[in-house]
């Protein structure tokens, strides 16, 4: 009747469980099961690092070797970090992916995270120091293994959430963040105007403007825009599709924007020549006129002077002030010349001389007016281009540099309790047993074995005690007997197990018990073993202890 033998009372099992827990307590206190698998990192966050060269670990806290919600509750795996405090506020989970969440300063549009792993603290110091010198968290050859990388846009509320791959315990990690922000409009506008002023003269050739020249000018502008904000660790990043993205040889939008710039610029060159020639002629004719006519000082002052130069073409691009037309109308000079003409009426020679000055002045004003019109057109075209560039610049980003946070994932090896059924070979009945499982690495039971199911994630040594072993045919006695066998006696179970699911395991090993001598005349027992197979359910010891205390 094997089925009857599989129905023990609850009391013996509870007693056995208590005995196993006590045995485990004793074992742990003796250090028998304290598997030194964690690194030498102190578990107390208040303890300073051993060597001054080592940067202090900024997290995680607290360092108790207990599981956190992030470890155990799928869906709540958020680890909060603070750039202000340079701190990782929560304990990092292991063997499960999680999100790093927090807030960044306003203006940061995108945040990139790279996680590196090192196995020793000294290495971590070197890694952190290295990463702090980089602006992209990569540099040339980081002294650590990159184990996770992610990027996310920052929301309007400056919150971010970045995914992190499952991390292995018993390692140190460096979390390197790179903030990306748009080039500020105020910064780019003046620069773009200067760039335009430097580039447009290249378009003012004697001949055509080739596509190659457009390409060169655009590339030069791209290079200058990329280098915007000199003093930044790295230049701006121009995204694909942007007007100044150099991966495309030509962008028709560029020619469309350049067209309104080029023609006023070219025309202003001609008008400058015309104006200077007309001014020179006026000054020359004035000099001649003064030899025959008395020119009043008021008129001399009102007429254009040698230094009455037009503003440069470049100023129409770099400046924002409109052309000052009033400075080139010379209205008072014309009024004074009209008065002078009336005063010399009846003197044909003087009249002709003054009329010549009137015509010269008209020509100066005409060319200045034409120049002014082109000046304003050029300025408008430049403003349109700068405005377009400013729009495009919203997607031109610059890197703010890196922020490095470090964290350790020093966890103790996992010790669990399990209870189940063992079937010993060559004995009549099965036994219940309770035992401890000693893993050789920390175990997060929330981590799916499907993804984190290596041998060490599954394998554990088992030490347990059984309920009473009975087999009359073999004269079985328990290892630990009670007086007159009034209470439950126990035998020992030694073996190993393998998790098939996060909590269920199969195992095998030997059952250690006593056997009396087959000779009825001899009252002698001997310790014998027999193999067993078991099927058990893992129980989290920490949870048991938490419930006990």
């Amino acid at each position: 009747m094997p089925s009857q033998r599989l129905q023990p009372t609850i009391a013996p099992l509870v007693w056995t469980l208590r005995a196993a827990v006590c045995a485990l307590c004793a074992a742990l206190s003796l250090g028998v099961f304290t598997v030194a698998t964690v690194s030498a990192a102190p578990q107390d966050t208040t303890t300073p690092p051993a060597t001054p060269a080592v940067p202090p670990l900024t997290g995680p806290r607290p360092q108790q070797d207990t599981f956190t919600a992030a470890d155990e509750a799928p869906g709540s795996r958020n680890v909060t970090i603070s750039f202000t405090d340079n701190f990782i506020a929560d304990r990092l989970p292991f063997d499960v992916p999680f999100n790093v969440v927090g807030t960044v300063q306003a203006g940061v549009r995108r945040l990139e995270l790279t996680v590196y792993r090192v196995s020793g603290r000294t290495d971590l110091a070197a890694l952190i120091q290295y990463l702090q010198t980089t602006v992209d968290c990569v540099g040339q050859k980081p002294p650590g293994r990159r184990v996770s990388g992610s990027a996310a846009n920052v929301g309007d509320d400056n919150h971010f959430s970045l995914f992190v791959n499952a991390l292995d315990p018993q390692n140190y990690y460096a979390f390197c963040f790179v903030g990306v922000t748009p080039v500020p409009n105020s910064e780019i506008q003046n620069d773009v105007r200067r760039i335009l002023a430097a580039m447009v003269p290249r378009l003012d050739t004697e001949g055509d403007i080739s596509l190659d020249l457009l390409k060169d000018v655009r590339a030069a502008m791209s290079a200058r825009i990329t280098a915007l904000g000199a003093g930044r660790p790295v230049g701006a990043t121009i995204p694909p599709g942007n007007l100044f993205d150099t991966s495309r040889p030509n962008d028709p939008r560029f020619a469309l924007l350049v067209g309104p710039l080029v023609n006023p610029y070219v025309a202003m060159g001609f008008q400058t020549t015309n104006y200077n020639r007309a001014l020179q002629k006026l000054l020359s004719d004035l000099a001649v006129a003064r030899t025959t006519i008395a020119i009043t000082s008021d008129l001399l002052d009102a007429l254009p002077q040698v230094d009455s130069r037009l503003p440069s073409r470049e100023s129409a691009i770099t400046g924002t002030a409109a052309f000052d037309q009033s400075a080139f109308t010379f209205a008072s000079a014309r009024t004074l010349l009209d008065a002078a003409l009336k005063s010399v009426a009846g003197r044909p020679a003087d009249l002709a001389t003054l009329n010549l000055l009137v015509d010269d002045l008209k020509a100066v004003v005409t060319f200045a007016t034409a120049y002014g019109g082109d000046y304003d057109r050029l300025q408008n075209a430049a403003t349109a281009l700068v405005g377009f560039v400013a729009l495009e610049a919203r997607s031109v980003t610059v890197t703010l540099g890196s922020s490095v946070l470090s964290a350790d994932l020093a966890r103790n090896a996992y010790v669990s309790l399990d209870a189940g059924i063992a079937y010993p070979w060559r004995l009549e009945n099965m036994v219940f047993y309770a035992g401890t499982n000693i893993y050789f690495r920390p175990i997060n039971k929330a981590a799916p074995l499907r993804y984190k199911g290596t041998f060490l994630h599954r394998f554990a040594l088992t030490v347990g005690v059984t309920t009473t072993v009975k087999d009359e045919s073999r004269r079985v006695e328990d290892l630990r007997t009670t007086q007159n066998n009034q209470d439950t006696s126990n035998s020992l179970l030694l073996g190993a197990g393998f998790r098939v699911t996060p909590s269920l395991r199969v195992g095998g090993g030997v059952l250690v018990f006593k056997e009396t001598d087959p000779n009825p005349l001899l009252d002698q027992t001997s310790v014998v073993v027999t193999p067993y197979v078991s099927f058990t359910a893992d129980v989290n010891v920490a949870e048991i202890f938490r419930s006990l205390f």
Binding site: G207, L214, A370
Partner: protein, 112 residues
């Protein structure tokens, strides 16, 4: 004589698709002679850059027309047709010359 353009040389249209196949354009400009004592007949010439394959009707690189120019600016209009592949050109240049071969004004026409 001092001929001078008092306005931009304005093309219409301001852009064209390449290649150009007898593409009609008008170019308008105001011209004056600030030293002329009276209006005089002058020959104005519109030229295409020699470095490209664009030509006016008839295969010429230039077209000319007579105008009477004095101290008062006169609006001059050239109605012409231009042909050519214009490969690798972003803009082609048209320049206005007087009969003394002085460049008076120029403009650039965008090619699409």
């Amino acid at each position: 004589m001092a001929l001078a353009a008092t306005s931009d040389l304005v093309p219409d249209p301001t852009s064209a698709a390449r290649p150009l196949k007898s593409k009609s354009f008008t170019f308008t400009v105001d011209v004056m002679d600030d030293e002329a004592t009276r209006p005089k007949k002058v020959t104005l010439e519109l030229r295409l850059a020699s470095s490209n394959d664009l030509v006016f009707t008839g295969g010429s690189k230039s077209v000319s027309q007579d105008e009477t120019i004095g101290k008062v600016p006169v609006t001059v209009t050239f109605a012409i047709k231009i042909s050519g592949a214009a490969a690798n050109l972003g803009f082609f240049r048209v320049t206005l010359f007087d009969d003394a071969d002085n460049a008076l004004m120029a403009c650039l026409v965008r090619l699409e």
